[in-house]
């Protein structure tokens, strides 16, 4: 077992899935010889050949649409969009077709595809390379949306996504691609579908996060512990469908919830989480639910980006407010 980065873990999961299922194919811009601009598909062309790994023309609607056609024919395409900032032409295919194919043919044709894309900020990249559009997909019945937050969870969630018989949008936090490494056993074990991870147990407060801000939530929990506050950290991992049971169980117990969301605040997945908690455990809340999110501003270029995105400082302030220690 070797220590791997998240991008290596993704590569490992792709290779594993391709080795165990000949229907799994990989397509996207520069995914072949170049191995993807982040190297997520490195070595796959050499190992599995040109019948399993295809470089596509620069055409996002077609990348998703070709995947729909392949999937309807029984393949399990894993399509890469180079950055989630360029995923929007593929939205039409995902919403109008991938998400609906099973329903509109009553199961005759289905769409077991994965649309992968690097997601989120914190990498000082050019315009439209740092957005977090996950809520656009999480709104759509028929889709699944997953975001990993560590190498191991990336490996297991991606295997779950590829094996799932329905379309999954898999958004990989770019800032975590090489942020650290950990031992990941290449054992082919998938994470459970639609289930959140409780990464750190706690009693006073629940910190809910997903994707790129999960390490921030874990760091905040560490700081809070020094202040005598026991914070539970829940990594949602799947934003569609949402693991309401884990959320409810945690917040009913702690009575306080702070949601950390890298995407813009309004209409984000955090709003849905807050709504579900309000519906189910309002009477157990000792403090208002807090949301720490990007401001509802156009995401600034790198020089101001950090001022817009959630920070550990803002997260800690929200947690202290919830604890009545502001």
């Amino acid at each position: 077992m070797a220590a791997v980065t998240m991008v290596q873990a993704i590569n490992m999961a792709l290779a594993r899935a391709m080795a165990e299922d000949p229907q799994v194919v990989v397509l996207g811009e520069d995914v072949g010889r170049d191995g993807g601009v982040f190297r997520a598909t490195e070595g796959l062309l050499d190992r599995f050949g040109a019948d399993r790994v295809f470089d596509t023309p620069l055409a996002e609607a077609a990348i998703a649409g070709v995947a729909v056609g392949l999937a309807a024919q029984g393949f399990r395409p894993v399509a890469e969009i180079q950055f989630s900032g360029f995923i929007y032409p593929a939205l039409d295919q995902m919403i109008s077709h991938a998400a609906r194919m099973r329903n509109r043919t009553r199961g005759r044709l289905t769409c077991p595809m994965v649309l992968r894309a690097p997601n989120g900020g914190g990498i000082r990249a050019a315009e439209l390379h740092s957005e977090s559009p996950e809520a656009l997909f999480a709104h759509v019945p028929g889709l699944r949306v997953a975001l990993p937050s560590s190498p191991e969870r990336a490996y297991r969630l991606l295997l779950a996504a590829i094996r799932d018989p329905d379309p999954v949008v898999f958004l990989e936090p770019t800032r975590l691609y090489r942020a650290g490494s950990e031992d990941v056993a290449d054992d082919g074990k998938a994470a459970p579908l639609d289930r959140a991870f409780v990464l750190r147990p706690g009693e006073d407060l629940t910190l809910v996060a997903w994707g790129g801000v999960v390490p921030m939530a874990l760091a905040a929990a560490e700081r809070l512990a020094e202040e005598g506050i026991s914070a539970e950290v829940v990594d949602m991992a799947w934003l569609k469908p949402l693991d309401t049971a884990t959320l409810i169980e945690s917040v009913a117990r702690t009575g306080r919830c702070v949601i950390a969301q890298e995407a813009a605040r309004s209409g984000g997945v955090g709003a849905e989480i807050a709504a579900r908690l309000a519906e189910r455990v309002l009477d157990r809340l000792a403090a208002p639910i807090e949301r720490v999110a990007a401001y509802d501003a156009v995401l600034p270029y790198p020089r101001l980006e950090a001022h817009c995105l959630p920070s550990e400082t803002r997260l800690l302030a929200a947690a202290r407010r919830a604890m009545g220690r502001a």
């Binding site: 023309p57 077609a62 649409g65 070709v66 392949l70 309807a72 024919q73 039409d92």
Partner: protein
């Protein structure tokens, strides 16, 4: 390559059935027994002709106006009525199980054809994906992307533009400055051909050539079949708001059905007796289909939850459990 007389009779009958089915569907809509319906009046030769050139194992990706092709491929008229009547089960047809359901977002199925064709190519199967769309669809990026990718990868696909001159109220001249829609093939590096889409024999022959080419590993083609939308865009449209009746009347001279009948009569292969027999046969078959359609038991309302995912996720299972049909 002219069709054999028997084959031509088959095409003629299929076009007539399509037209009779179409008229029935409109009548059902007018009397509240069907939802909005898109008539294929006047363009039957394109839809039927293209399907007739296909093999059963090929895959059709139709537009919403391709009843002719779908019926030829074995979709039951009752299934088609079920679809237009607002029931998802209409696309779970028993016949061509791998054919796609109609595409409602215009042109968005063109990339699927590339994907299906890629599947055939990867499995080294001698099969072809056949995609039908309208003149309006050729303005869409999806279509351009699909043609381009099919060209680069030399996919076994045939793209057919049914140029019926109109996209709702927009005439094809306002759709493109290109001289022909067939020329869009040039940019994708595939052969493109404009043909008279009201000549069913020519449609079959041209499509057959393109299919053979694709099957033989020589890549995709684009066919522009010129025809005319004789009816309203759909039952929800009134074409008199934007086009002259005189133009429509002139187009009747090109009616593909009348043309084919004349040809059969000239060949001595068709007469009054056959015509009357066929019409009665079609009327009876359509009546039976309408009866099957009307007698189809309704879907239990709760099934609205059941095909969103392969397995009900917890949150949806919860909504399903709380669902009460009487609340609607």
């Amino acid at each position: 390559m002219a069709q054999s007389t028997d084959a031509l009779i088959g095409l003629y009958r299929a076009m007539c059935l399509t037209r009779a089915f179409d008229a029935k569907a409109i009548a059902l809509q007018r009397t509240g027994r069907l939802g909005t319906f898109a008539s294929s009046l006047g363009q039957e030769a394109v839809s039927v002709g293209v399907a007739a050139a296909m093999r059963p194992e090929d895959v059709l990706l139709p537009s919403f106006r391709d009843h002719g092709a779908m019926l030829w491929r074995g979709v039951d008229m009752a299934e088609s009525l079920l679809y237009w009547g607002g029931d998802e089960r209409g696309s779970d047809f028993a016949g061509p199980r791998q054919d796609f359901p109609v595409s409602v977002p215009v042109g968005t199925h063109a990339p699927h054809a590339a994907g299906v064709a890629l599947a055939f190519k990867l499995r080294r199967e001698p099969r072809v994906a056949v995609c039908l769309f309208g003149d309006g669809a050729t303005s869409k990026g999806d279509v351009a992307e699909a043609l381009n990718i099919a060209g680069v990868w030399r996919l076994p696909a045939v793209f057919v533009v049914c140029n019926n001159r109109w996209a709702i109220s927009t005439p094809v001249e306002r759709q493109t400055a290109a001289e022909t829609l067939a020329r869009k093939a040039d940019a994708a590096g595939m052969p493109g051909e404009r043909i008279d889409g009201n000549d069913v024999e020519l449609v079959v022959e041209t499509a057959a050539r393109a299919l053979a080419r694709a099957r033989d590993g020589q890549g995709p083609s684009l066919i522009e079949a010129l025809t005319y939308r004789m009816g309203d865009h759909t039952t929800a449209d009134d074409a008199r708001r934007y086009r002259d009746d005189a133009e429509v009347s002139r187009q009747w001279a090109q009616d593909p059905i009348a043309r084919t009948r004349r040809r059969l009569v000239d060949l001595g292969a068709w007469g009054k007796a056959q015509e009357e027999g066929m019409l009665a046969e079609h009327a009876a078959a359509i009546e039976r289909a309408v009866e099957r359609y009307a007698a189809t038991p309704a879907q239990p309302p709760v099934t609205l939850f059941d095909y969103t995912y392969a397995n009900l996720p917890a949150e949806l299972a919860e909504q399903r459990a709380a669902f009460r049909p009487e609340d609607a």
